[in-house]
Amino acid sequence: MAIKERMSGNEAVAYAIRQVNPDVMPAFPITPSTEIPQMVSTYIANGEMDTEFIPVESEHSSMSAAIGAEAAGARSLTATSSAGLALMWEELLLAASNRMPLALTLVNRTLSGPININCDHSDGMGARDTGWIQIYAENNQEAYDNFIQAYPIAEDARVHLPIMVCQDGFITSHAVENIELLEDELVKDFVGEYEPEEYLLNPGKPIAVGPYSISNYAMEAKKNQEIALENSKEVILEVAEKFKKLSGRGFGLFEEYRTEDADYIMLLMGSAAGTAKQAVDEMREQGKKVGVLKLRVFRPFPAKEIAEALKNCKAVAIMDRCESYNGNGGPLGSEVTAGLFRHKVMIEAVNYIYGLAGRDFTVSDAVHVFEELADAVENGKEVEQFQYIRLR
């Protein structure tokens, strides 16, 4: 029986963490993810879970300690946002290259400067090449569901990679919304016990982690890491299938909303996807063939699957909540267009930058984008291929 509740995205993730009850959680406060370690600490203080919490002195140390704990054989996680993730950067790479299946719950917030506490995806996107699995949530429900699926994905023998479960800072992390929770026992069974084969604390079976590697081995090691990330794609889908049996809620690498006959598709991640769906519904009522492709799994990047999903539309709006300062688009813009090109899907693909540092994104913004795509295709109007929304 699903438990109907209402809670914020941060509460939902903390609730999931309590249910999973991992072994070790080092964490350091940073807005807007601070509530997660706070709530976990409170659960621990009240005896509702018994994870060992390490109040570290920086995010660099939280990721370092998480790696140490995971290598030692403990299921580990941390939480952070923005500058905290940036400070971890070196360690993110090590978590992945050392093949540590730990979890990080990221509450997306823009990176400085200027300093600002609101949402965009520049923190997660900045870590896109660190070898982590990255999964983005539209709302509190998905943040909860994704976290429950995190360890079964990361700990799968085909994967053994760290996983970042992301949600939009404040927009979902601090918004109270309806949610359906699973019973503790169901979650525990679903996630299971962590039983690594080799770990530091295995008496009489020492291991060594984190070598210096000469060039003759390092390139091969990186390839193995890449293979593991590729493998995670099928594991993500398998875990989603099992999760669906448990919860009734299905997940893929992305969600296609009213795209089957759509001429114009908006591709985006996170909370704005809900807003875009609302726009789609309103425009569909007026007979406009529009749809949304909500990317859930950004790493591994499902380029082929996206190309397949977009091949029949006339134009796609690729929505980046992040600037990548390359003069050519945002991260999604670059990766999606590369994927389309490689798979010979030659459609109009306009890259929009929206919602930086908490700039709002509304239903009418989404409608405007769809209208611009239609104008380009139907009336041949030239559209700037890389543009900002709501820029003054």
Partner: protein
């Protein structure tokens, strides 16, 4: 430790296997071997290691010199990494996932760069949080791994590649940071500063206390580096003896806040005796630089007096 016997202690199996790639005559591995001899044979250990000479030389894939479990993470986070390992141990023990009767000890090694400087915050955090671990700094007074750049552990006037001696420079301008005192001020369980003596009793005793005292413990071990200090490589034990007899490197411990000198030279030698055999101080012996040696001596004296005062309390 009154029953310490080098002959008995040396019977213990080596926990740092040969075949590592440290320089011939390296002091760091002498220190590591000595620290690990203090482990009870039946106890397991997880060894942490900050990036540095020791790390790149002792675990070069697929060759690990460590008989115990070992983790190297990065340069600046040996304290935090081992915090995680130690916490995992507590978590897994609590949950019955580790055998009751198997004991693990947690020891991490870092050079002075990884300890005094870039790893300082991580070390401070680990010590303050009270993890049951030993952080061992093998202090050779510079970033030797990258080619002898100054660190905050480098003594004043040392010639390093980032404080080179030249027309306008007498070498490093600042005195070295007194890390052992700083860590002692964290109110940790045990701090020991030591180096090599012929029977290794002082080092062994401190390592033993550090490993088997509950709570966070810190060892600062002076480990000469023949390449960076430019002395005659086989003379390492002589260099160490001069360091303690000139009181350049006092040996002391702080056991639960109680300061204690563990060695006092019968006759305190002038600092020149320690400086002269080292190429990094060659310029101090040029005509006209006598005042530099005087200043060096004054600083040594000042610190020694301060230490005597602390130990007398």
């Amino acid at each position: 430790m009154s029953d310490y016997s080098l002959k008995n202690i040396m019977n213990k199996p080596e926990r740092l296997a040969p075949g590592h790639r440290m320089c011939a005559g390296c002091g760091a591995t002498i220190a590591v071997r000595a620290v690990l001899r203090a482990l009870h044979e039946d106890d397991h250990a997880v060894i942490g290691n900050a990036t540095g000479c020791l790390e790149v030389s002792s675990f070069m894939y697929p060759y690990t010199a460590w008989e115990d479990s070992y983790i190297h993470n990065a340069f600046e986070n040996a304290g935090a990494t081992l915090s995680g390992v130690e916490t995992a141990y507590n978590a897994l023990k609590k949950r019955g996932k580790l055998p009751e009767d198997e004991n693990f000890k947690f020891i991490t090694f870092g050079g002075d760069g990884g300890t005094y400087d870039i790893g300082f915050q991580s070390l401070s955090g680990a010590m303050e949080r009270g993890h049951d671990m030993v952080y061992v700094c093998y202090d050779n007074g510079a970033y030797m791994n990258t080619g002898i750049q100054r660190s905050s552990a480098t003594p004043m006037y040392a010639d390093t590649t980032t404080t080179p001696v030249g027309k306008q420079s007498d070498g490093k301008m600042q005195n070295r940071k007194d890390l052992a005192s700083i860590i002692a001020d964290h109110d940790v369980a045990y701090v020991g500063q030591t180096t090599f003596t012929s029977d290794f009793k002082d080092l062994h005793s401190k390592a033993n206390k550090a490993i088997y005292t509950e709570g966070p413990c810190f060892l600062n071990i002076m480990t000469p580096c023949p390449r960076g200090w430019r002395y005659d490589t086989p003379d390492i034990m002589k260099i160490c003896k001069l360091a303690i007899d000139t009181c350049y490197w006092p040996m002391f411990e702080v056991d639960h806040g109680k300061w204690k000198l563990t060695y006092e030279p019968k006759k305190k030698l002038p600092i020149e005796d320690f400086l002269r055999p080292q190429g990094r101080f060659k310029h101090l012996f040029k005509k006209g630089n006598e005042d530099l040696i005087v200043q060096f001596q004054e600083e040594v004296d000042r610190r020694w007096e301060d230490l005597l005062y602390k130990c007398a309390r």
